[in-house]
């Protein structure tokens, strides 16, 4: 029996060297792993105020104590670094097989630092790391890159070993570039793919034979506790619904509640929602389903468009968020075209949520330009760029979007500005109000005017406009774990959001999938965690306090990096929804009600952690960062 220890590799791309870094049990207990450990390291190592493209910026690719153990849905990993999109701490999470294979390769995480003079790909196998020239891979899409690397390592089976890479979007430092793995999986949010591009790291291959069971504190206990957990999750009817229907289950439901953002968030109801829903996908292009490493839920959809203008080979996706971002948001009702866009954006390495939002911003700007509602010089510039690009980015124009994916990935013509994300695009043309983002990060598929707790979730999400810091949609829309009226001013929602934020922070640090945490809570994971780590006296309370510590630590990084405001985009704050059950409601109405109480509960002074809470959470070392 032994306590948990993490072995990381500190990889310096400037001199193509690496060394081992040990993280001891004490530090892990304070920050767990994944998102928590990444936040701690970022606070320690990333200098305050640097440009995200400075060579001092780092990318932490981290697993957690549960990754690859098979406890349940443990096939994910987490990435942390300073975001070029928001300018604050960025982080993103991805499934597939990369996380487990990284651990099997002998490393629990990677610290990527420095910058290479030429493109590099890393071959990580059984505790060793080799630097390889990736010049011939530079410019290639994710699918092609993976194929070539598999030829080089001579392992063609996609279930053995795993590849993380960036596409041309990351290479060309698009601020909405994702880090991709296993072809279709994305650590998408906050543009961290651009930081890898800046460092000239094209790809990482991981493979190895490490046996995690042998390293556990009590492997016998682990096996029996993991079985209990699996039985509990699979007994939940909702896990079964997810297996059958995938993540597109919500399109018709969100629409019914009047919260499906439509036409760049000017409406909450899309009359063609059925055409882009899971129900319709199931009877049209769905082939089968697939899952991340070791997951029995298998929520990912495998689709194919066998013929026609949007012919797409068998591929994974699209997920709900991507389908919405390119569907209702752009007034596109042809799901075959969305499958194609999703495939191409994965290949070019974009965050599909940010990309769809940036295109809707462009479409609205173009509409305004045609109506003469932009400043004259801006109107001229936009029309010229669009003409030069040879596209017509009007609402519902599918072919224009397909061209835009390539234009943005290679930063060509109007694509050069699309690659900057919605906020910068709208600001460039003098209409910041047209971009729908929080702290620079484009928003996902739930309108907080119709699902009011999301106003607080979005506004206070540390990484910006995000539904995964707290998914209070589950309460507001579905009534689980507790039934909330989505339009009620109910102060108990504040506590619900705060606690979910803290718990989800733990979920991202362990690292497990958020899909299994609705039917389970911290107590369900405690015994599994103890069996792995030997933290016998750990309590549910300690776990939740750890979540709160990490959430506060993220904020301590952010508030020192520039103007950091917990708010909603102007449109959602001030304009009311024109139709549906939430007709007449504004985001301001909800946020003004929730936010003061939230700050009180968090012990934050207008969004800034007070010394009292910093000390209570044992974060004093960062008091004066």
């Amino acid at each position: 029996m032994r306590f948990l220890e993490f072995k990381l590799a500190r990889i310096n791309l400037s001199d193509h060297n690496w060394k081992e870094v040990k993280i001891d049990d004490k530090l892990l207990r304070k920050f767990i792993g994944g998102r928590g450990l990444g936040t701690y390291l970022a606070l320690k190592e990333i200098p305050k105020g640097i440009d995200p493209f400075d060579k001092e910026n780092k990318i932490y690719i981290l697993t957690g104590p549960l990754t690859g153990t098979g406890a349940f849905e443990t096939g994910r990993y987490h990435v942390v670094g300073k975001s070029p999109l928001t300018g604050f701490l960025g982080d993103a999470n991805s499934g597939g097989d990369f996380g487990p294979w990284l651990r099997f390769s002998g490393f629990d995480g990677l610290i990527i630092e420095g910058k290479s003079d030429y493109p590099i790909w890393l071959r990580i196998e059984d505790g060793d790391i080799k630097f390889n020239d990736a010049s011939s891979l530079w410019g290639k899409g994710v699918h092609h890159t993976e194929k070539i690397i598999r030829e080089k390592v001579k392992i063609s089976s996609e279930t053995i070993g795993s590849i993380l890479s960036i596409g041309p979007a990351g290479e060309n430092k698009s601020k909405i570039a994702a880090i991709m793995n296993d072809r279709y999986r994305a650590a998408g949010r906050t543009g961290l793919g651009a930081v890898l591009g800046d460092k000239k790291l094209k790809a990482i291959w991981v493979y190895g034979k490490r046996n995690l069971l042998k390293e556990m504190y009590d492997s016998k206990k682990f096996i029996s506790e993991a079985k209990k957990l699996t039985d509990k999750i699979m007994g939940n009817p909702v896990s079964q619904a997810l297996t059958q229907l995938g993540t597109l289950v919500l399109m018709n439901m969100t629409n019914a509640l009047g919260g499906l953002p439509t036409k760049n968030w000017t409406h909450g109801i899309y009359d063609k929602a059925f055409d882009i829903s899971g129900e319709h996908l199931a009877e049209s292009y769905l082939k089968t389903r697939k899952g991340c490493w070791g997951c029995t839920i298998q929520c990912s959809r495998v689709t194919e468009v066998p013929e026609g203008p949007y012919k797409t080979p068998i591929s994974e996706g699209p997920e709900y968020e991507s389908t919405w971002a390119h569907g209702a948001n752009l007034l596109i009702d042809d799901i075959s075209s969305i499958i194609k866009m999703n495939y191409l954006e994965n290949d070019m390495g974009f965050d599909t949520i940010s990309f769809g939002n940036t295109v809707s911003t462009l479409m609205e700007l173009y509409e305004l330009a045609k109506q003469g509602k932009l400043d004259k010089d801006k109107e001229k510039e936009l029309i010229e760029l669009i003409n030069m690009s040879g596209i017509e980015p009007s609402w519902g124009n599918k072919d224009a979007i397909i061209q835009l994916i390539y234009l943005a990935a290679y930063r060509n013509k109007i694509g050069d500005l699309v690659a900057e994300g919605a906020k910068r695009l709208a600001e460039h043309f003098g209409r910041p109000d047209v971009a729908i983002h929080v702290k620079g990060l484009e928003l996902p598929a739930y309108d907080p005017r119709a699902l009011n707790s999301m106003s607080l979730s979005y506004a206070t999400a540390n990484r910006g406009g995000c539904h995964l810091r707290s998914y209070s949609v589950a309460f507001d829309m579905i009534g689980s774990p507790e039934k909330w009226d989505p339009l009620a001013k109910d102060i108990k929602k504040v506590k619900g959001v705060k606690e979910q934020q803290d718990w989800f922070t733990i979920v991202d640090s362990l690292v497990i999938c958020k899909f299994n945490v609705f039917g389970t809570g911290p107590s369900d994971y405690l015994e599994v965690l103890k069996a792995i780590t030997g933290w016998e006296d750990m309590t549910e309370n300690e776990l939740m306090t750890t979540g709160e510590r990490i959430y506060n630590a993220e904020r301590l990084f952010d508030v020192k990096e520039g103007e950091y405001k917990d708010t909603l985009p102007k449109r959602l704050l001030e304009e009311s929804l024109p139709e549906g059950p939430a007709k007449g409601h504004t985001g301001k109405e909800w946020l003004d009600f929730f936010l003061p109480e939230y700050y009180k509960l968090r012990k934050w002074d207008n969004g800034i952690p007070t010394e009292e809470i910093i000390r209570k959470l044992d974060l004093e070392e960062f008091l004066n960062r």
Binding site: L248, E279, H467, I478
Partner: protein, 94 residues
């Protein structure tokens, strides 16, 4: 009076249609509508949806985008042009 009824997820498969435009008597309540569908459209619908006189878990009924529980549940009176949705709960769309 005319109303619109939608069936999503499992109910879409079960009924075989996404949307029905129905002409129902005035003063119909939600439970009357369920009885009507059970009798005229799909036998067994009521049993699938209800437990005695309450909505079975995990099911959800929306009237114009609001859960029936936020009105008078199964006794909610329906009005001209209402849109009723029958759906199982499924909240995984992260």
């Amino acid at each position: 009076m005319k109303i619109k009824v939608r069936f999503i997820l499992d109910y879409y498969k079960y009924i075989g249609k996404f949307e029905l435009n129905l002409d129902i008597p005035d003063k119909f309540t939600l439970i009357d509508l369920i009885d009507y569908i059970d009798k005229n459209i799909k036998k067994g619908f009521k049993e699938k949806l209800l437990n005695e006189n309450s909505i079975k878990y995990p099911n959800m009924i929306l009237i114009n985008g609001r859960r029936a529980e936020f009105f008078e549940n199964l006794n909610t009176k329906l009005n001209e042009n209402d849109q009723i949705i029958f759906s199982p709960l499924a909240y995984f769309a992260l």
